[in-house]
């Protein structure tokens, strides 16, 4: 046991917790004012729902004693046996309970990311059922494969420092399934053809949310070292530099393509950079991090433009930012990882080990296929039974009034 490590991971857990309300503000500013509380609520309630799910059985499924590399068993149901002694497979220097509560914050923010895809139209009751099922049937198994003791992808040697695959690709692919199954918002007509305007109602809120995400992400990435020291510093530095670079490349590219650099572009670029550096943070040096960030800002911006052409209404661009940014980050880790930075990691293609890129691609592919199929199936079943969407009248009135009987702003 080490008190510095324990303090560091507990503070990191608090930082990651703040990301969920930060994400709520990031998303909340991008919707129309009649849906601001509905959007904030879908994120905020996640702290309650998944927080309890995690303690009851989620943690045991994700990190509990391994069953065939696929899932944890139920030995740790209700956190039974998750005590104050370290569990050596995860960390030798912090209490098992500290590791559990740190991981709880990851389990909470991952389904929260998906909420951007169905913003402004999903029924709250169905939403609650979906996130509990998704956390249990998608997040918990995938977390086990990649991070759990005995997980099969961990055994293959896939590198994912803080959750590029488990969190971002996983949520981003579920978001794609959601946008496809639910269909576009009423009046959404795609690109420049006189369709109804879906203008963000409060971009200052979005920029504030992006700032809180950036701040909290230091806990997400540096905290994933699970120890205070050099590795945490490596991850912290890489996280920051990639994000700085992504802000520049997103705004720079839109300045070239559209003629103006926008504040929404700067905020989006920051999140794209944070997503992409997440799997790489503890394995790459500062200059590699800048390359990852430059790539993230430009690739994600182009992906967001492509959405408009492809015509699926992923309202707040979860696919373009989290799925595409996550894939870029996971593959970039296979290119740029270096044992000189982290001897416990591996070398990437550019450091003489092409095999790592193959492993990274495999891990990405497996998670895309699994998450898409299960998410699609769950959404189809819920659509047929409970209905995914509010009625057209309720959609026009807005989620604040129809789902929560309140208004975000009044005189």
């Amino acid at each position: 046991m080490n008190s510095a490590d324990t303090a560091f991971v507990l503070v990191s857990a608090a930082l990651v917790m703040l990301m969920t309300p930060g994400l709520a503000l990031f998303y909340g500013g991008m919707v129309r004012s009649k849906n601001v509380l509905g959007t904030l609520m879908q994120n905020f309630i996640m702290l309650g729902v998944i927080g309890v799910q995690w303690a009851l059985f989620g943690y045991s499924l994700a990190f509990g004693p391994d069953v065939g590399g696929i899932i944890g068993n139920l030995d740790w149901l209700g956190l039974n046996g998750v005590g104050l002694e370290p569990f050596k497979a995860y960390s030798e220097t912090i209490p098992h309970q500290t590791f559990m509560i740190y991981q709880a914050m990851f389990a909470i923010i991952t389904p929260a990311l998906i909420t951007g895809a169905w913003a402004e139209r999903m029924k709250f009751s169905t939403f609650l059922v979906f996130i509990i099922l998704w956390a249990t049937l998608v997040y918990d198994p995938v977390a086990h494969w990649v991070w759990g003791d005995g997980g099969w992808l961990k055994g293959l040697g896939a590198l994912d420092f803080a959750g590029g695959t488990v969190v971002h690709i996983n949520a981003g692919v579920a978001a794609l399934a959601a946008a496809l199954v639910m269909g576009p918002r009423k009046g959404w007509g795609g690109y420049g053809n006189g369709a109804e305007a879906f203008i963000p109602h409060n971009l200052p809120m979005t920029v504030l949310g992006a700032g809180l995400l950036w701040f909290g992400w230091f806990g997400f990435n540096a905290g994933s070292a699970l120890a205070s020291g050099g590795l945490a510093s490596t991850a912290f530095t890489a996280t920051h530099l990639a994000t700085c670079a992504a802000v520049l490349s997103w705004t720079g590219l839109e300045w070239i393509i559209r003629g103006k650099p926008t504040s929404l572009g700067a905020a989006s670029g920051a999140v794209a950079g944070l997503v992409a550096v997440t799997p790489a943070a503890g394995f790459v040096g500062p200059m590699s991090a800048i390359i990852i960030g430059l790539g993230a800002g430009s690739i994600c911006y182009l992906a967001v433009l492509a959405k408009v052409k492809l015509g699926y209404d992923d309202s707040l661009d979860v696919v373009g930012v989290h799925c595409v940014g996550g894939i870029w980050g996971a593959l970039a880790t296979g290119l740029l990882a270096s044992k000189a930075i982290n001897s416990a990691g591996a070398d990437g293609l550019l450091f003489g080990n092409p095999q790592q890129l193959v492993i990274q691609t495999l891990a990405v592919g497996v998670i895309i296929v699994f998450s898409f199929i299960v998410s699609w199936g769950l959404l189809k079943i819920l659509d047929a039974t409970m209905g995914l969407r509010v009625t057209p009248e309720e959609e026009v009135a807005g989620l604040d009034l129809s789902e929560h009987q309140e208004a975000g702003y009044s005189i």
Binding site: Y191, A197, F198, R258, K260, T262, L264, G265, V308
Partner: protein, 112 residues
């Protein structure tokens, strides 16, 4: 008595307010409004989605003045709110039937 209602560019509110103070206008009501005239709207882009925004932000000033003073108010607004470019706005002048100060019950020009 006349009511002068002027729709002007938002950034012209301060100079217009100052000019009305200068000619001893003691009160006014200001509202942030949206609308369009010949200027039409503008285009905004959010993450590559381009929207035509038809209603532009303007400020509406409402002032009530005696018949003698009304022309001075109109002149002051024209003088300060004009840039000479499209989108400077409009002034409407209406007759006012009655004015009542709620606190005292006074009526007519003394209540303005």
């Amino acid at each position: 008595m006349k009511k002068i209602e002027a729709i002007i560019q938002p950034f012209k509110l301060e100079p217009v307010k100052e000019a009305l103070h200068q000619i001893s206008i003691q009160g006014m009501t200001v509202t942030e409004v949206k609308g369009f005239g010949r200027q039409k709207g503008l285009r905004e882009v959010y993450r590559g989605m381009e929207y035509q925004v038809d209603f532009l932000p303007k400020v509406k000033i409402e002032v009530v003045a005696s018949d003698e003073k009304a022309q001075a108010v109109v002149d002051a607004i024209i003088d300060k709110a004009r840039t000479g470019r499209i989108g400077d706005g409009k002034i409407f002048v209406y007759p006012v039937a009655e004015v009542i100060r709620i606190r005292t019950g006074e009526t007519g020009e003394g209540a303005v």
